[in-house]
């Protein structure tokens, strides 16, 4: 892969001469002063996974570019989120850069005002490369990163669309074709289900809290909306009940035993061990699937859009951003790092390794980037296709964790036979007061 670093630097140095001419009579646009903060050390707090690890892997390039030293740490998701909140609340976080999970933390962070406003930085030509503009981010990205005043308090970094992974070999063996609707999918799963041989038609998250991301995709396909205009939660309505019935059907009749405890790791294991014919989850899990050291189904997996429901075809979307605590004393240096994380180089690497999808249209549409994608072309198609039908996968509320825990527990309960409608009603009776309290304060 071409090394973009030095090329870019020399490019910038090269343009210094030309832009000084100032074609339109405006004052000459100064360059990003990458080395201005050389010698600083910043701390980055990242989530364990392909994105965080990508930043760690190439951190030395950033240091070469800017002279800023980066101490970074990747922590498993749940712990990272907790630690982040504890430290941000204390007012003295130990990190200058934080990996944000928009779908869980957006409203909480906005309300508490924990992240620095980056709008000024983005407009400052000394700090921001010319190709990074707010418009370059997709609509979803802006929705995630902007608050109601239109201020950007983080940079949208990677988006995760839900797609359907399917085992072509297992499908061929039973003569089943790729389903286009959710009903077809349930039928296909039943046809493919072969417990005697240890093969199951479907695998997915059954674990409370984690399972919400799968369920919401069904919910959206059934035409569900999370909130009405007054902010009331609608996830126990008829669409939700239908979605839960489907969820229950798939995971009780056609899934591996123990699925009630599966998060993405266990579900992915079923797929990569060749024990499951279909899996619906985030698009960023392709690398381990195509890794011969970890997967027994290399080359056998197809990547498709999540099948359509009666009211539409949607892909639940979740986003990661990268931001700077308001309390940080090294904001500019940290901003350079954030910018580097969403830069073309890193965004390309992210996409090409299949570890995530950048929010920036310029990267996604760049032919040279696309050519370098290591994943099968079908994967890239599913990314682009899902982007077009994407919808936020979780409601934008403060108590997201409670929501995922309480409703998620209800869903897991249906996997041992509980009635979907009763469980949803019970869960929402518990959750509604929590939501009300959170909006009041």
């Amino acid at each position: 892969m071409a090394h973009f670093g030095p090329t870019r630097r020399s490019l910038l140095q090269g343009t210094l001469a030309t832009t000084a001419l100032g074609l339109t009579g405006f004052p000459a646009r100064a360059d990003v002063q990458w080395k201005k903060y050389a010698g600083t050390t910043i701390e980055a707090n990242l989530v364990k996974g392909p994105r965080g690890e990508l930043l760690q892997k190439y951190a030395s390039e950033f240091t070469e570019l800017t002279g800023i030293k980066v101490e970074s740490e990747v922590i498993p998701e749940q712990q990272q989120r907790q630690k982040a909140v504890i430290e941000l609340t204390s007012g003295k976080p130990s990190f200058d850069v934080i990996h944000v999970s928009y779908h869980v933390q957006k409203r909480q962070f906005e309300k508490a005002g924990w992240l620095a406003d980056l709008t000024a930085f983005m407009k400052d030509p000394n700090l921001t490369a010319p190709d990074l503009t707010v418009d370059d981010f997709s609509a979803g990205g802006r929705q995630f990163a902007e608050n109601d005043k239109g201020e950007m308090h983080s940079l949208p970094w990677s988006v995760d669309y839900f797609i359907l992974y399917w085992n072509k070999e297992l499908f061929a063996k039973k003569g089943v074709t790729l389903p286009k609707t959710l009903d077809e999918m349930a039928v296909a799963a039943e046809k493919l289900n072969d417990p005697a041989n240890g093969i199951y038609g479907f695998t997915g998250r059954g674990l409370r809290n984690a399972n919400m991301t799968l369920w919401t995709n069904f919910f959206l396909d059934y035409g569900g909306e999370f909130l009405d205009d007054k902010g009331n939660i609608l996830t126990d309505g008829p669409e939700a009940i239908e979605a839960t019935k489907l969820y229950q059907r798939l995971l009780t009749k056609t899934a591996p035993p123990g699925v009630a405890g599966f998060n993405w790791m266990e579900s992915m294991a079923s797929l990569t061990q060749g024990r499951a014919a279909m899996w619906i989850d985030g698009v960023g899990w392709a690398p381990p699937i195509e890794d011969p050291n970890a997967s027994r189904v290399v080359g056998k997996i197809g990547y498709a859009l999540v099948p359509a429901g009666p009211k539409g075809q949607y892909s639940a979307a979740y986003g990661d951003g990268i931001g700077i605590p308001q309390a940080s004393t090294k904001k500019e240096a940290a901003y350079l790092y954030c910018q580097w994380a969403v830069s073309k180089t890193m965004g390309a690497r992210l996409l090409q390794s299949g570890g995530g999808v950048p929010f920036r249209n310029s990267i996604l549409n760049d032919e040279s980037v696309r050519k370098g994608v290591k994943m099968p072309p079908e994967w890239l198609d599913s990314v682009i296709g899902s982007a077009k039908i994407s919808k936020l996968g979780l409601p934008v509320i403060v108590p997201v964790a409670e929501f995922r825990d309480i409703v998620g527990a209800a869903l897991t309960a249906t996997l041992s036979g509980a009635d979907p409608e009763a469980e949803l009603k019970k869960a929402h009776a518990q959750f509604r007061p929590i939501l009300e309290r959170s909006e009041k304060s």
Partner: protein, 314 residues
């Protein structure tokens, strides 16, 4: 004070009160206690006081606290998740006390007899209770795996169907109790063993001479004499089982759903996932009261059976 000679001899007793030397009282032992007292004040009493203060406030991390009196406590009975966690805790505790008590006593009886390599085997037996709970729990998690775990394999060897262990709400608590029992039976064994060791030999000898069977010897001589130790073991187990956290957290995080969520696990979610520290503090207070109540019940039980002990024995 230090030079006062004894004006009378007190009969030698083992380790009780300070010798009563001319009416001068023990308070001079306070300096021994003060450093520990400071530590206790700082790390135990201060947090407790603060917890009680927090429990009277509505306080979510990130916003300022507001005083709400007893509102958090009133919220508890209608919080179905909390009520269910109480139920889970009681079931879990009952099983985690009864099973180790039974198995530990049996093991103590066996270890009470002399045999070669007893020391080594005993050492082996107590390893589970000393091992790091989190590390152990992670290995148990791998053993519980429905398809690849060794437990289902062992079941298949003896012709039993594979279980879902910690992946099904009906079997999750028994599975966790299995881990807890595996880990803590040695502690009961040690305590009861100590009791057995303290029993003088004469009653045994006379009973055996009189023709009593092993079982009768155990039932009528050993058992009453080790009752106090059984109660101590039960008390220690009860307190530890109610608070059990590491094992459950590492293996199921309270799942599937909330099927294995005990009070302590729920407390963790409320305090460190939802950041509702006011409400969490109220849960702590109620939790503590519950444990004290259980301990009190156990003590009362002991007192009533104490009267039934063979009178006049040591």
């Amino acid at each position: 004070m230090s030079g006062i000679a004894a004006s009378e001899q007190t009969p030698a007793r083992s380790g009780t009160a300070a010798p009563d030397i001319g009416g001068w009282q023990p308070p001079s032992y306070w300096p021994f206690v003060v450093p520990a007292l400071i530590v206790v004040l700082a790390v135990i009493i201060f947090p407790w006081a603060y917890t009680i203060w927090m429990s009277l406030h509505e306080w979510k991390v990130g916003s300022p606290p507001t005083f709400v009196g007893l509102a958090n406590y009133i919220r508890l009975p209608s919080d179905t998740r909390f009520v269910e966690s109480v139920w889970h805790t009681l079931v879990y505790t009952l099983l985690s006390v009864a099973l180790p008590l039974l198995l530990g006593t049996l093991a103590a009886v066996v270890f009470h007899t002399k045999f070669p390599m007893r020391g080594f085997l005993r050492g082996l037996f107590i390893l589970p209770m000393m091992a790091t709970p989190v590390a152990i729990a992670l290995v148990w998690t791998m053993m519980f795996h429905p398809q690849l775990g060794i437990l289902n394999y062992l079941l298949s060897l003896i012709g039993l169907p594979p279980q879902l262990w910690v992946f099904h709400p009906a079997t999750v608590i028994p599975s966790l109790v299995l881990v807890e029992t595996w880990q803590w039976t040695p502690l009961v064994m040690l305590i009861v063993l100590g009791g057995l060791a303290a029993i003088p030999a004469e009653p045994y000898e006379s009973a055996l001479i009189d023709g009593a069977t092993r079982w009768q010897v155990f039932r009528y001589i050993s058992l009453p004499l080790i009752m106090p130790f059984l109660f101590i073991a039960a008390m220690i187990r009860m307190i530890d089982a109610v608070k059990s956290f590491d094992i459950i957290f590492a293996i199921t995080q309270g799942g599937p759903g909330t099927a294995s969520e005990t009070i302590n696990l729920y407390l963790y979610s409320v305090a460190f996932v939802y950041y509702d520290v006011g409400y969490a503090s109220a849960i702590v207070v109620v939790f503590f009261a519950l444990i004290v109540a259980l301990a009190g019940a156990l003590l009362r039980l002991r007192q009533t059976t104490h009267w039934n002990d063979a009178g006049g024995v040591a």
